[in-house]
């Protein structure tokens, strides 16, 4: 249950919630599930009838995502949704990236995990603002959770917001959070055929980071094959090879970040 307003189903908890305020206007909290009988019917006749709905299953999420995107655009915030399987090194990549950039840029982080605040604690140790969302049994973050997290986190204008999604290469692909880009992180300790096995995720991502390349001498991983598979699923995907641990390749990632940030700032001015 969402701790802000109790409006979301499931076991989501968002850290540090103080207010009940929404930055979008389309959100209402009627909790009347209409348990009464359907409209009057003649006795003895079946009450069954057909209802045409034609509604996308993710329409509600997509509406929140669109609200989030407007918010990011209005405030010039570059938001990146980091997705990967568990253990690819997302949090380490984040802490190293923050160490490189925090003197020049405002950075904040939303951490998604099923349980614990370990990752948010690691991020906060670097000195930037971080908020943990525990999804309970949920396997991904959704746009509604992000909208609530924004109320608490309040990322600075013209800043970068990283969203570290729950480690899972399946469900997060379907849930738009309003981010500018999905960044898929794959490590060389996994199979090079991950892009083919989980094509939806690599199709949805604009950048693939191949992490832990310092381990290549010790593992059986075919980099060229992996890149070919990723391009086969998504010909537009950009690929950066790096090691968050050794620092190799980090400058290419920072370049990509700066370029994306410049794009996000094109239609933003502080006075807007």
């Amino acid at each position: 249950m969402c701790t802000v307003c109790g409006c979301s189903e499931g076991e989501t908890t968002i850290e540090h919630t103080h207010e009940h305020e929404h930055h979008h206007g389309k959100h209402s909290h009627t909790h009347d599930y209409g348990s009464g009988a359907a409209h009057a019917h003649a006795p003895g006749l079946s009450q069954a009838r057909m209802v045409q709905i034609e509604q996308d299953i993710l329409s509600k999420n997509n509406q929140y995502a669109s609200d989030n995107r407007d918010y990011f655009s209005k405030h010039g915030i570059l938001t990146l949704n980091l997705v990967s399987s568990p253990g690819s090194g997302k949090t380490s990549l984040l802490t190293e990236t923050i160490a490189l950039l925090k003197d020049q840029l405002d950075i904040s982080v939303i951490e998604g995990d099923q349980q614990t605040t370990h990752d948010a604690d690691r991020i906060r140790a670097t000195g930037v603002k971080a908020l943990q969302i525990n999804t309970g049994k949920g396997c991904h973050l959704d746009a509604h959770q992000i909208c609530h997290a924004l109320e608490n986190l309040k990322p600075a204008a013209a800043s970068i917001l990283f969203i570290e999604n729950v480690g899972n290469l399946v469900c997060p692909a379907s849930f738009d959070l309003g981010e500018a880009h999905k960044v898929a992180i794959l490590s060389v300790t996994e199979g090079e055929d991950k892009p083919l096995k989980y094509p939806d995720m690599f199709y949805a991502a604009d950048l693939m980071i191949l992490n832990k390349v310092d381990l290549l001498p010790y593992v059986d991983f075919d980099v060229a094959q992996c890149i070919q598979y990723a391009k086969q699923v998504n010909p537009r995907i950009k690929i950066v090879q790096l090691s968050a641990k050794s620092g190799i390749g980090m400058e290419s990632w920072v370049q990509w970040l700066n370029a994306s940030r410049a794009m996000q700032l094109v239609d933003f001015s502080e006075t807007a």
């Binding site: 045409q52 509600k60 379907s174």
Partner: protein, 110 residues
């Protein structure tokens, strides 16, 4: 699982607008290129609907084939996977235009 929860949310929301208290059948239109595995969807559907207004509802999945426009052949072609090449020319220049949907089409309600 979460997709089924979204379906249930929509069913509950619609029950207020369309005035029904029980759902006995749900038709979903699922594209072959969406990230939905129909068997997993069926399994989760029954679990998620338990104790709700759609308990024991039948799930009907209408599959829509993947279709893309081939820039080289200048026509629509059928594809099974995102990484398929054009079945006519073998090219990669495909723009998917059908088969990505995940949609609730119709309900039988009381």
């Amino acid at each position: 699982m979460s997709l089924c929860e979204s379906v249930l949310e929509i069913l509950e929301q619609q029950s207020r607008q369309q005035h029904y208290s029980k759902v006995s059948r749900v038709w979903l239109e699922i594209g072959a290129l969406s990230s939905v595995e129909p068997d997993a969807m069926r399994f989760c559907f029954d679990a998620v609907m338990q104790g709700s207004l759609a308990e024991n509802a039948r799930l009907e999945i209408v599959t829509v084939r993947g279709q893309a426009w081939c820039l080289q052949c200048n026509k629509n072609v059928l594809i099974e996977q995102r990484y398929d090449t054009c079945p006519a020319c073998g090219g990669f220049q495909l723009q998917v235009n059908d088969g990505e949907q995940m949609r609730i089409k119709e309900l039988e309600v009381e």
